[in-house]
């Protein structure tokens, strides 16, 4: 995860972690973030070209921050690929990946932002209905699959106009989060 680390005096590692934020924003798809340990629980966090010096440590459920005199206890829900951070004005979903891993993935063509040609199940449940078939041209908002979970039917709809290449599930199938439900005909 982290970067180079010459040992700084008094036995304290002066490490820097270089990260890339995948923003999902068209104009600025990625943003560089670096965390440099300054010792004594202090860190310089650089977002883009703005550096902020903070004090901080891990706490149960998140990170305690002090920015000057401002004290912020922020809950961080680690979902693996994303960190969900709760703030007073709402929840931030942040995808921060190690800069080197990101560079490697980009080289392999697995970079973020690529159009997903498959609809995967957002939850575990039972397929109730698949109103579309291969070859159908559907418009945004069309119901593609209905999955029942916890006694409730959930309609999963198309987020864009698209052509259906394949429907991989049938009524009665049990699905897990991440299972492919429908494959789209997406132009390369």
């Amino acid at each position: 995860m982290a970067g180079s680390a010459p040992w700084a005096g008094e036995g304290e590692p002066m490490t820097t972690t270089k990260l890339v934020e995948i923003t999902g924003d068209k104009d600025e798809p990625t943003r560089d973030i670096a965390v440099e340990a300054l010792g004594d629980g202090r860190y310089a966090v650089t977002i883009g070209d703005e550096t902020t010096e903070v004090e901080g440590h891990l706490v149960d459920g998140g990170v305690a921050l002090r920015i000057g005199a401002l004290s912020r206890d922020l809950r961080v829900d680690d979902r693996g690929d994303a960190l969900l951070v709760r703030t007073p004005s709402g929840r931030a979903r942040l995808e921060l990946v190690d800069a080197r891993t990101y560079a490697l993935q980009a080289a392999l063509g697995q970079g973020a932002g690529a159009l997903k040609p498959e609809l995967v199940s957002p939850m575990a449940g039972k397929v109730v209905l698949t109103p579309v078939s291969a070859g159908d041209e559907v418009t945004e908002g069309t119901t593609l699959v209905i999955v029942e979970a916890m006694k409730m039917e959930n309609e999963i709809r198309a987020v864009a106009d698209v052509r259906i290449k394949d429907v991989r599930v049938a009524p009665g199938d049990l699905v897990n989060p991440g299972d492919v439900l429908v494959v789209f005909d997406v132009e390369e």
């Binding site: 982290a2 942040l94 921060l96």
Partner: protein, 503 residues
């Protein structure tokens, strides 16, 4: 009093009932499905028995197995909680036959209130106001028109076999009545194969206000005032409070008396709730009676100081209830929210899974009726409610402030929840003012959609916290493996070393 009680339920309500049992020194018996082996209600109970596979119909709804467990464990009574078998008259009868006390009303009261049109007729006979409407379907358009004129517009035309909004028309203008009537009949015929329609009065901007009642076997019936449950999404209550912020005191007294009348009309015994629609003129109309303890019962407990489960137990044991109408008063203000495992940003899709961290707020006037803890799993087989959370304060304004403070502290990690949506419910103007009606959720949704993203400082702080989190965790991992961060995390240095070794 009983010495051992079986709880034919799961999750938070099972635990809520067991808590009172424990306070009274009564042993509790849990039943559970195979999917609930590790569930908290199983651990909380004094004894626990598996009654079948995950699907409710094979476990929590298996009357035979539950009664077998009652016999095996020596439980003298069964508390059904809410949902599952709580309003199943067959179960109440089966308990009686098996010689086990069903903690609920007599089977005949469940039947009387369960059949909606029959209940309506009984309520009319008992002089309980109902929504003005025809008791039988009507075929003749002109006769229907005349009836609509007599009850006043707007009116609702609805299919007798109805459901899902089909064969349903709201009519505001008499000139359009005939056309709407014929349309509804056609739609009903094609949707249900039955063209029968009713005509009833449309209640404008109704509030859902309900009265808690208690009745014992000694002829005592009391009401414990109202709960306003008008914040509903897809007919699911989300926020409940007592007192109702707009209810006039004279209307409150009248509603209470009418609810007692309704309970007496069916020889009711136990805890029950009479639901009403309250219109803008403070006229109220009987909707239905729920013959069980309700999810929102803590709101009443907080303002009256009465433990409803304890009263249920006393009544079921044949004792008189320990309160009289004169003892009862509403003190302060209570609000309950239902914390669900669902994603409000994704059409409220349920989000089952393991809770990686659960932190419940505390402090004065705070109560959490939960069914989970850190590390436990919200199963996709059952209702996704994580907990009902209740606050109590001197005034409504203070109760809202307290609840907002608590919702900020409430933390559920690993799965999505409606916590932010609940905050939006409390903040929307009609709720803050107290004038909200059952349509308020659409306003809450509109407010959510109109909202801009995070404010700049919050976004920046979140980014700093996330970056620091990644940094500190990689350092922690490095420390755990006994290596310096540079060698564990720097792939290039490792690569370099391999090259050196491989040479």
């Amino acid at each position: 009093m009983f010495s051992k009680v079986l709880i034919a339920n799961r999750g938070e309500i099972a635990i809520r009932v067991m808590r009172t049992l424990r306070e009274l020194g009564i042993r509790s018996v849990a039943v559970y499905s195979e999917a609930d082996r590790e569930a908290l209600h199983v651990r909380y109970a004094d004894e626990a028995y598996c009654v079948g596979p995950a699907a409710s119909r094979d476990s929590y709804l298996r009357i035979d197995r539950i009664l077998e467990v009652a016999k095996q464990s020596g439980a003298e009574a069964i508390h059904p909680g809410y949902g599952f078998l709580s309003e199943n008259s067959e179960f109440a009868e089966a308990c009686a036959e098996a010689g086990v006390v069903f903690i609920g009303p007599p089977a005949q009261a469940i039947v009387a209130m369960g059949e909606k049109t029959g209940a309506r007729r009984m309520m009319i006979a008992a002089e309980v106001p109902v929504v003005p409407g025809l008791e039988r379907p009507i075929e003749d358009a002109q006769a229907a028109y005349d009836y609509a004129e007599s009850i006043g517009y707007p009116v609702l035309i609805k299919a007798a076999a109805g459901g899902g909004g089909k064969g349903m028309r709201r009519v505001d203008d008499p000139a359009r009545f005939i056309e709407a009537f014929e349309g509804a009949r056609r739609e009903a015929a094609s949707a249900f194969g039955n063209a029968d329609v009713y005509v009833e009065k449309w209640i404008v901007q109704p509030k859902h206000v309900e009265i808690q009642v208690l009745a014992d076997t000694h002829g005592n019936v009391v009401h414990l005032f109202e709960r306003d449950c008008s914040v509903q999404r897809r007919h699911q209550k989300v926020v409940e409070e007592s007192p109702c912020p707009v209810l006039r005191d004279d209307v409150r007294q009248k509603m209470g008396a009418v609810a007692v009348q309704a309970a007496r009309a069916v020889d009711y015994v136990g805890a029950g709730t009479v639901e009403f629609l309250l219109d803008v003129n403070q006229d109220f109309y009987f909707l239905e009676m729920n013959t069980r303890l309700q999810v929102e019962h803590p709101v009443t407990e907080m303002v009256t100081g009465v433990d409803l489960v304890e009263q249920q137990l006393r009544i079921a044991a044949g004792q008189p209830m320990s309160v009289t109408q004169d003892d009862l008063a509403q003190t302060g203000h209570a609000i309950e929210v239902r914390v669900y495992a669902e994603d409000p940003d994704n059409n409220f899709l349920p989000s089952p899974g393991r809770i990686t961290r659960l932190h419940v707020p505390t402090g004065p006037g705070v109560r959490d009726d939960g069914g989970y803890e850190t590390g436990t799993e919200v199963s996709l087989h059952y209702d996704p409610m994580i907990s009902k959370f209740i606050v109590h304060a001197e005034t409504r304004e203070k109760a809202i402030g307290r609840l907002l403070r608590c919702l900020d502290e409430y933390d559920v990690q690993g799965i999505d929840t409606n916590l932010e949506f609940l905050v939006d419910c409390l903040r929307v103007a009609p709720f803050a003012e107290g004038t909200y009606d059952t349509g308020v959720v659409s306003e809450i949704q509109a407010a959510r959609e109109a909202r801009e993203g995070l404010d700049d400082d919050d976004a920046k702080h979140a980014r700093i916290a996330a970056a620091l989190y990644r940094h500190l965790h990689s350092a922690k991992r490095a420390a755990a493996t006994g290596e310096t961060p540079s060698t564990t995390t720097n792939g290039w240095s490792r690569y370099g070393r391999f090259r050196t070794l491989g040479r």
